[in-house]
């Protein structure tokens, strides 16, 4: 069988019928797979959303003492209120995080409201351009663009009430809402989820006066921050250990997913999970895999998405297929965005996980890999060095050759690889779980309120 056949489950039933098994292209027999997986679910349609987990559900994961600390932290804030404002209710990491954080804080009796700004296409075109410019893209800021940005911020400001004790504005889109700040007893915080280390100077120069009106700013990595006259805090992004993507699953599900995608669990599996995006260097991963495979037996699974609804993604997918050539050990999966359970299963089935990005935000796929106790090889970009302490919680690489060497090394040194995986999981448990995120918000709220902030011990 050949490989590098991108398997889009939405199309592959017909493909499987057309191609059969054993032909020149590697094709997954989805119909048979779907039958096998009926006990799990049919992943061709989005799953029904699960009700949010309760705090007590986390006890087995973080322990009673950590849960108690959360409750003690919240006790003095009982009755206080928080408002979170962002630009989208669905899709994207911020909405995903707020979907879980808001009920968690409310369960701790710190009532938290979530409001989403509205705007026309012209507004979101501007904010998308701002987003890219703030992450370093070239951009010429025009006066009418500033006006569009401010007009929609003002419209939203008039529509919203800001009576909460803590108002948190997420990302640049609603940043000018701070102009609606009236009550001097409330605290306003700007939570920046993007990398501001090398912003376009015009866009940053325009936004900066608004940011300086907040009481504090929060960044996802030290290296993403700017010099500002307000305090800046470090909040790592987080994963929910009880979500479809990260919860513990039965091995029968892992096996069924591997059967579905023809992944052979009796041989070492190297996995990269990422959109088909050049910033994730999927071709570099294939090159590294091919170098490593000269010395060690292994398969490569490239599980991602974005090729069906993004022309650039489709082009990258073609490049990936071309790079894979006829190698039967490379399995390329173009999955729909709701395939969290399948990603979870593939991560758990893997021997090693790779994230060979050229540019990265925080890199939550690395967090997911570490949480599953997997030895992880990743590039030292964006927020990844916060997660991977070289040779302690994973290994950092800087080149295709380095990545290939580490694949070989970790596959042939399983004890060392196991130790990395164990440390990585503990690192996530300590720093990158949703419960830790909730704790940081409570700590910040107390600190801004001046509630029992201790001097140095």
């Amino acid at each position: 069988m050949s490989a590098q056949k991108a398997m889009n489950p939405l199309e592959s039933v017909a493909e499987a019928r057309d191609s059969g098994v054993g032909g020149p292209a590697r094709v997954v027999p989805i119909a048979a797979g779907a039958e096998r997986r009926q006990s799990i679910r049919d992943f061709r349609t989005p799953p029904v959303p699960q009700p949010p987990a309760r705090l007590d559900d986390y006890q087995n994961i973080i322990g009673q003492a950590s849960l108690d600390a959360l409750r003690f932290l919240a006790r003095d804030l009982k009755g206080k209120t928080i408002k979170m404002v962002n630009s989208t209710a669905v899709g994207g990491g911020v909405a995903e995080m707020l979907n879980r954080l808001v009920p968690m804080l409310s369960e701790l009796e710190v009532t938290t409201h979530w409001d989403v700004i509205t705007g026309g296409n012209d507004f979101f075109e501007v904010t998308k351009a701002f987003h890219n410019a703030l992450q370093g893209n070239d951009y010429q800021l025009a006066k009418h663009v500033e006006e569009i940005f401010l007009m929609y911020n003002e419209q939203n400001m008039r529509r919203m009430q800001f009576s909460e004790d803590l108002v948190v504005i997420h990302d640049p889109q609603p940043a000018a809402l701070v102009c609606g700040r009236k009550d001097s007893t409330s605290h306003w915080v700007w939570r920046c989820h993007i990398d501001l280390s090398h912003p376009n100077t015009q866009v940053w120069g325009f936004l900066r006066p608004y940011i300086e009106r907040y009481d504090a700013a929060i960044f996802s990595s030290q290296s993403f921050a700017r010099q500002l006259p307000i305090p800046q805090y470090l909040f790592y992004p987080c994963i929910d250990p009880l979500s479809e993507k990260n919860k513990e699953i039965d091995d029968s599900i892992v096996q069924a997913v591997c059967d579905e995608f023809r992944v052979d669990r009796s041989r070492p599996i190297v996995l990269q999970v990422s959109r088909f995006d050049r910033a994730k260097d999927p071709v570099g991963v294939i090159q590294a895999f091919k170098l490593a495979k000269k010395y060690v037996d292994c398969q490569l699974v490239m599980a991602g998405g974005g090729a069906s609804d993004d022309p650039e993604g489709a082009a990258v997918l073609q490049e990936v297929k071309a790079a894979a050539g006829e190698d039967p050990d490379i399995i390329i999966l173009d999955l729909p965005p709701w395939c969290a359970l399948e990603i979870n299963a593939l991560q758990r089935a893997s021997t090693l996980i790779v994230q060979k990005s050229i540019k990265e935000g925080f890199g939550l796929t690395v967090t997911e890999a570490l949480w599953k106790g997997k030895p992880t090889i990743a590039s030292a970009v964006g927020g990844i060095p916060n997660q991977i302490i070289h040779k302690l919680t994973g290994v950092l690489v800087h080149s295709v050759e380095g990545c290939a060497y580490q694949i070989r090394y970790l596959l042939t040194h399983p004890d060392f690889a196991k130790r990395l995986g164990e440390n990585g999981r503990e690192h996530v448990k300590e720093n990158f779980l949703m419960t830790t995120n909730a704790k940081r918000w409570l700590l910040l709220f107390r600190i801004l309120n001046g509630t029992q902030t201790a001097p140095l011990p």
């Binding site: 003492a65 950590s66 003690f72 030292a380 440390n423 690192h427 940081r440 902030t453 011990p457």
Partner: protein, 223 residues
């Protein structure tokens, strides 16, 4: 004191198990080479020194070896200066009851290395060092034992953050080369040998969970 007396004896003052939680504040100083690290270390606030030494041990409590403080880690991983990293790693936070003394000790190591290795001092690191600081909130726990068995039970059930708070951070508060556990055993339970044994536990060769087990072992032996 008989075994039964030790078990049932109530202390005049109970042991209040507390825990400390920390929020990371991003500082103004950053370093792109060793000279800048030295300059930043001289200028940064004391709670930055705390964050990158005491706190980093807590953040990485699950690692048994290879991680002592952020300065040592950065000089090895980003500057590739193993000799300097070894010297910085050997600065034991438990030998200090003042952050200024700890800062001075780290500064002395760096000053000497920078003076003897001017090329290395100016060489650009692979990634910058960002000085951070810790804002601390101390919280109570529900464990307030008055007896030795209750103390052992508390040790088993509190978080590792609480163990770190009482066992490692405490010396900055006590201004003593000791810790809260040893002080309570000595002053309230008249157990000087156990107090001394606990104070000798090596935090750099064991995870915090292993440190906890060793403390519990000593206390249970007394029980």
């Amino acid at each position: 004191m008989s075994e039964v007396e030790t078990q049932v004896r109530k202390s005049k003052k109970p042991f209040y198990f507390n825990t400390s939680e920390h929020l990371l504040r991003i500082g103004r100083e950053k370093a792109a080479n060793l000279s800048e690290l030295l300059e930043g270390l001289r200028r940064c606030p004391a709670n930055s020194v705390f964050q990158h030494t005491f706190r980093t041990l807590q953040e990485h409590h699950f690692i048994r070896r290879g991680f002592s403080n952020d300065f040592a880690h950065w000089t090895l991983s980003a500057c590739n200066e193993p000799a300097l990293a070894e010297r910085l790693a050997s600065v034991d936070v438990r030998e200090f009851t003042s952050l200024e003394d700890l800062r001075q000790s780290l500064v002395s190591v760096l000053e000497e290395y920078v003076r003897d290795n001017p090329d290395a001092a100016a060489r650009r690191a692979e990634e910058s060092f960002y000085f951070c600081a810790a804002d601390i909130v101390v919280l109570p726990t529900s464990f307030v034992p008055e007896t030795l068995p209750g103390f052992a039970d508390g040790l088993r059930r509190v978080s590792v953050h609480s163990i770190h708070h009482h066992f490692i951070e405490a010396r900055l508060r006590l201004k003593l080369m000791s810790n809260d556990f040893s002080q309570w055993l000595l002053e309230e339970m008249s157990l000087p040998d156990e107090a001394r044994a606990i104070n000798r536990i090596d935090i750099y060769t064991a995870t915090m969970e292993h440190v906890r087990k060793q403390i519990i072992g000593i206390v249970e032996h007394a029980v």
